[in-house]
């Protein structure tokens, strides 16, 4: 009898030990799973590298949609309108690195993009030597005012906003034109090119993390 009672007590103890051990194992397992799942930080927006040129428009331009764009290169010889589409269109025909007289383009649409479908990263490498050959001079006051008038008209009639890409070292040539445009209240954006004439344009969620929207 005594032996039987002992066995019963041992059974009960073993049972509770089982409960405790099983429960502990399950808790550890579940904790690990939860840690793994919830360990992915819920970042509001993504942290992105800021290697591209800042092409933000001035804040007062608060439009529902983005304005149409036009790109100009500024070299010591003057201003040249860029035909970036001539490079971009070639990507459709399967050209890996499209090239024209004005430069070449490397475009990448990342597979890992997980926001909107129109995300891209494009790198135009401008051939500034060629570009400067077709430049329109803006040295005199008349030449500048003619150019400013053309820019203002294109904005008023077609909503086209110019972007000036300045060759490194040509800031002094650009300054009089810039102030001419500012005096005429022209909406514009501008950036200084890398020394090798590169400009990187990106459209991705980072473009929207501030209200200074950048766009094509």
């Amino acid at each position: 009898m005594i032996t039987g009672a002992d066995t019963e007590v041992t059974d009960a103890e073993t049972g509770f030990l089982d409960v405790a051990a099983n429960a502990l194992a399950v808790i550890i397992l579940v904790t690990m799973v939860v840690l793994i799942i919830s360990g992915v930080p819920q970042v509001r927006g993504e942290v992105t590298e800021e290697t591209e040129l800042d092409l933000s428009f001035p804040p007062p331009l608060e439009t529902v949609t983005t304005p149409l764009a036009a790109y100009y290169a500024v070299t010591p010889e003057g201003v040249t309108k860029l035909d970036l589409d001539a490079m971009t269109s070639q990507v459709n025909d399967g050209v890996a690195i499209p090239e024209t007289d004005q430069g070449n383009l490397a475009v990448r649409v990342s597979r890992s993009a997980y926001r909107d479908f129109n995300e891209y990263s494009a790198e135009f490498r401008l051939n500034l030597e060629n570009i400067s050959k077709t430049a329109t001079p803006v040295d005199t006051r008349e030449q500048r005012s003619e150019f400013v008038e053309m820019i203002s008209n294109r904005f008023d009639n077609q909503g086209i906003v110019p972007t000036f890409l300045i060759q490194r070292g040509s800031a002094a040539d650009y300054a009089p034109l810039y102030w001419g445009l500012r005096k005429a209240d022209a909406v514009l954006r501008w950036a200084v090119l890398n020394p090798n004439g590169e400009i990187r344009i990106r459209h991705h969620v980072g473009s929207f993390s501030t209200r200074e929207r950048r766009w094509q």
Binding site: G15, T66, L84, V109, Y120, H203
Partner: protein, 312 residues
């Protein structure tokens, strides 16, 4: 080996514990929840009550904390991570090229070429892109046609249908306020929907006192929401600057005062409200605006001193 009673109990207890442990965190992990159905038409009195008892702020804060929300995103896909939407890599590359192209005619041709063989999500997105492009070129009727097509798709999330209403407001300026109210209700997390709604209300000329009452309360809701979405005070500052051009609108005055309040300039807000209340002449919305201004003055007077220190 015989199954003992304690084994069964142990199994049940272990199952219960594991179930609880698993379900609790999973229930809190879920992605963004679908937005609540549009609220019933608020009255100004009720909105002001909700503003004073903080329930308006709590609701706005909930929205601002939605996972993956990037409030300034121009489309629902930029604002949220919507995993249902997908596009094959080769089509995606062409879509990216369409975005990179500068000339609107080339852009349009590229987008229209993608419509063939598109899934419904893809086609929806392409129509939105075409509508945007039409708006950029000033062709409102073309934008409306593209939006009609975008409206024809089922199973599009509410936050995306918000984009259709938002663009519709731009394409049909005569119905801007109503469309923006729909856009904001479908996605209160969109900065642009709230900001454009606030601007549209300020510019709108109500025809009845009921409309004054309703739009004034919608303006308050939009501003409270924006104060929770804004990353910096200057975001609200830009909005203030854009409505300052409407000095004769009572709604603009209320908006400006509330922006001062929301950026911590309580003393300036108080002076502004008092000044507006005195200057408020007899016009259709005067009753609604005066009611709101008086309420704000009373609310500011109740504020503890510590909250009003450090203002500029």
């Amino acid at each position: 080996m015989a199954i003992r009673r304690t084994d069964i109990i142990s199994a049940i207890v272990a199952f219960a514990i594991s179930g609880t442990c698993f379900l609790l965190p999973v229930s809190t992990l879920g992605g963004w929840e679908s937005p609540e159905p549009p609220r019933p038409q608020p009255t100004l009195k009720r909105t002001l009550e909700e503003l004073n008892d903080d329930s308006l702020d709590e609701a706005a804060d909930e929205v601002a904390k939605r996972p993956s929300l990037e409030t300034a995103g121009d489309t629902c896909l930029m604002r949220y991570r919507l995993l249902d939407f997908s596009m094959s890599q080769d089509r995606r590359e062409k879509f990216g090229i369409a975005a990179l192209l500068i000339n609107p005619r080339k852009k349009r041709a590229q987008l229209e070429g993608l419509l063939e063989g598109a899934t419904s999500y893809e086609a929806w997105r392409i129509h939105i892109a075409l509508a945007r492009l039409a708006l950029r070129t000033g062709d409102n009727s073309q934008a409306n046609r593209q939006l009609d097509k975008a409206e024809g798709f089922d199973d599009i999330p509410d936050v995306c249908r918000s984009d259709v209403a938002f663009l519709r407001a731009a394409a049909s300026p005569q119905n801007a306020v109503e469309n923006l109210l729909v856009a904001r209700a479908l996605d209160p997390g969109s900065w642009q929907a709230n900001a454009q709604l606030a601007k549209a209300i300020v510019e709108h000329r109500p025809r009845t006192t009921e409309e004054c009452d309703r739009l004034t309360s919608e303006l308050i809701v939009a501003l409270v929401q924006m104060s929770h979405l804004a990353a910096r005070d200057v975001d609200l500052g830009y909005l203030m600057r854009s409505v300052e051009q409407n000095p004769n609108s009572g709604q603009a005055a209320l908006l400006e005062g509330m922006i001062l309040e929301r950026t911590g300039q309580f003393g300036a807000a108080m002076n502004f409200y008092k000044q507006e209340l005195e200057a408020n002449s007899a016009y259709l919305c005067a009753t609604a605006i005066d009611f709101a201004l008086e309420d704000r003055i009373a609310a500011l007077s109740r504020k503890p001193l510590s909250n009003t220190l450090g203002e500029n």
